[in-house]
């Protein structure tokens, strides 16, 4: 029997029977070509496990239970029809349109395929997805980090992942062992959230900083995600975010357009550090760390008045360039 035929027959058999079907009966009806020898038993077990995994990967719910009161040690299987079926779902026209945009978003092969499968299920239940809407631009969702698939798969299967991680500013990567709780996309980059076994606490890792291959190891179901864990909240709280500061800058007239666009206050024609041009005083609020980077890009067109910490950082960094 071809594999797809066997998988579909297994699905139908477990779905159509209202009771649990014993493993023995399943083997007799669908796996009869496995001989009744120790080697045949082992091959059957392996194939049957993989087939169940394949059906579960498609979204099928398979229940495992005890057969009946006479044979308490024999395991049986069934697919509860109501739980395994897609619930009735109906969309308004604008919702169907936004689904049409979502259909084009993924540029990562496995998730593009998963999107197609999901929309096919919706089509099968009578939902028509509108692919013609134009006024929303589809995001381009990629996952180019080579370790993405490993972390996502290990998250789903609850397996341990071991990887080398390089933090910015550290010359050498360090080995990490993580129980991954989830993956989070933030500003176009992917992060994994989980329990760091060596640090003994929750941590967030940026996938682009994983060095070499990440490896999943050990059995599936190796850990439980603590009840009430909110992966998105952990990512928000643990990912480093710089506090905002209010900065006062002297900017040459007609320069610093990018800074002026975000200004909360602009005072025209104030005294400046030189008289090659006129100067304006620009006030804006931004994260301090990235503001130093941004001010530096304007070179001799922008000077920091306040806060002192920002001024010191800019001066220090320029001085280190000049004195090397």
């Amino acid at each position: 029997m071809e594999k797809s035929e066997r998988l579909l027959n297994l699905h139908i058999m477990l779905l159509a029977q209202r009771r649990f079907v014993s493993k023995g009966d399943i083997r007799r009806m669908l796996y009869a070509d496995y001989p009744d020898t120790p080697a045949g038993d082992e091959a059957f077990e392996k194939t049957f496990e993989r087939d169940k995994d394949d059906l579960r990967e498609l979204g099928v719910v398979i229940e495992v239970g005890t057969m009946d009161k006479f044979f308490e040690d024999e395991v049986g299987y069934r697919i509860p029809p109501d739980e395994s079926a897609l619930p009735e779902i109906r969309f308004e026209a604008d919702e169907a349109a936004v689904l049409g945009v979502a259909a084009r978003a993924w540029e990562q092969a496995a998730f593009a395929k998963a999107t197609t499968e999901a929309l096919r299920k919706l089509a099968a239940s009578g939902v028509e997805v509108d692919r013609s809407r134009l006024d929303v631009v589809a995001p381009r969702l990629r996952a180019e980090e080579p370790s993405f698939d490993v972390f996502w798969d290990a998250t789903r299967k609850r397996r341990l992942v071991t990887f080398d991680y390089r933090r910015p500013g550290e010359p050498q990567p360090t080995r990490r062992r993580l129980h991954p709780y989830g993956v989070v996309r933030s500003s176009g980059r992917w992060y994994v959230v989980g329990h760091d076994l060596d640090r003994g606490e929750e941590r967030v890792f940026r996938l682009s900083r994983v060095v070499g291959d990440a490896r999943a190891s050990g059995r599936a179901g190796a850990f439980e995600v603590p009840a009430g864990t909110d992966v998105r909240r952990i990512a928000d709280t643990l990912a480093p975010t710089a506090p905002d500061v209010e900065a006062v800058l002297l900017v040459r007239q007609h320069a610093g357009v990018g800074l002026r666009r975000r200004a909360t206050l602009v005072e025209d024609d104030v005294p400046g550090p030189d008289d090659r041009t006129r100067w304006d005083r620009v006030t804006l609020t931004a994260p301090e760390s990235s503001l130093a980077d941004e001010v530096l890009t304007y070179g001799a067109s922008v000077m920091v008045e306040a806060p002192e910490s920002l001024r010191d950082e800019v001066v220090d960094r320029l001085r280190r360039v000049v004195s090397r």
């Binding site: 739980e83 999107t115 090397r324």
Partner: protein, 327 residues
């Protein structure tokens, strides 16, 4: 995902298609192959192959009545699909976790990017969650915003009506704002960045304008005046184009993120944690800004004259603070 597992994945894919095809047919009675293929986004030839597996399947027992019935005459003769004796497959299967994650994340990313779509995205997500298709394990917290919704709506409206648009555009490498009159063609993405693809009358050439640098836009009554050129593919050679100079930078660890953001031609580790990268640079202003942003963790290995002008620029900026850099 991996090519090595193709055979197993193919069988699973076929079952996935069949578990959608049968309920689709069940609610319709009979459907043409072309119609079903279009609705389910399946190649028509593949759909016929799938049906040839389906009629071998059914309830255990092996009697003809136990098997699903596919009308092969109608299929081969008229290209019509009729399936019966498959009532137990009347409903599609629940979303698999990666299917739910893929859709939910795509929807959330749309909402993050396009504030005007947030309401409809929230309603759609709520329906998925009610159908047990939430995603606890994959999230989006923030997406780079494409553009304010009103800018996008304005540009799309002008494209639909074939009107010219007047832009005020910010060019950071020249630190200036300039007015442009353009024939807009399409809004498109290259990587994470959204562009307006247009013919620019001011520059007399094809130009791509980053949406996040459009300071102001105004739709004109004038119809577009460069007919016949459709939207272009901005991802290919065209975009890299132009004249570039190959530059080698030495990056200290705090600057190692550069290859994550910019396309580098090559990178190799050097001594003392230095990463050397080769970049094709289109203009000196861009390079000077990058080096200043990274200061003092990057320097130019070659061509050396870039390094000298960069240091001179840093000295000039430092002089604003009354500091000569000598201590």
């Amino acid at each position: 995902m991996s090519a090595a597992r193709t055979p197993a994945t193919t069988a699973r894919d076929q079952v996935a298609r069949l578990l959608a095809l049968v309920p689709y047919l069940h609610s319709r009675g009979e459907v043409s192959v072309t119609e079903a293929a279009a609705a389910l986004d399946v190649d028509p030839d593949q759909l016929v192959k799938d049906l040839r597996v389906l009629f071998l399947c059914g309830l255990p027992g092996g009697y003809p009545d136990d098997l699903i019935d596919v009308d092969l005459d109608a299929l081969e003769g008229e290209g019509i699909i009729r399936v019966s004796n498959a009532d137990y497959l009347a409903h599609p299967v629940r979303f698999a976790p990666s299917e739910a994650a893929a859709l939910v994340v795509a929807l959330r990313a749309i909402g993050e990017r396009t504030p005007s779509a947030r309401d409809v995205v929230e309603r759609t997500l709520a329906k998925f969650e009610a159908a047990g298709a939430g995603s606890a394990e994959m999230h989006v917290t923030s997406e780079p915003q494409t553009a304010p919704g009103d800018l996008l709506a304005l540009l799309q409206g002008a494209i639909d009506r074939g009107h010219q648009v007047e832009l005020t555009y910010h060019v950071p490498t020249r630190d200036e704002q300039a007015a442009r009159t353009v024939d807009p063609r399409a809004v498109t993405h290259v990587g994470e960045v959204a562009y307006l693809d247009a013919w620019c009358h001011t520059a007399q050439g094809d130009r791509a304008f980053r949406l996040d640098r459009i300071v102001e836009a105004r739709e004109l009554e004038t119809p577009v005046a460069s007919p016949g050129s459709g939207p272009r593919d901005l991802t290919g050679e065209w975009f890299s184009g132009a004249e570039t100079t190959r530059v080698t930078l030495a990056l200290e660890p705090p600057a190692h993120w550069v290859p994550e953001y910019y396309t580098v031609v090559a990178q190799r580790p050097g001594p003392d944690g230095i990463l050397e990268v080769d970049l094709d640079v289109a203009g000196e202003p861009w390079l000077r800004q990058l080096l200043l942003r990274l200061a003092p963790h990057a320097r130019v290995v070659r061509p050396r004259e870039f390094n000298e002008s960069f240091t001179a620029g840093a000295r000039e900026a430092l002089s604003l603070y009354g500091d000569t850099g000598v201590r």
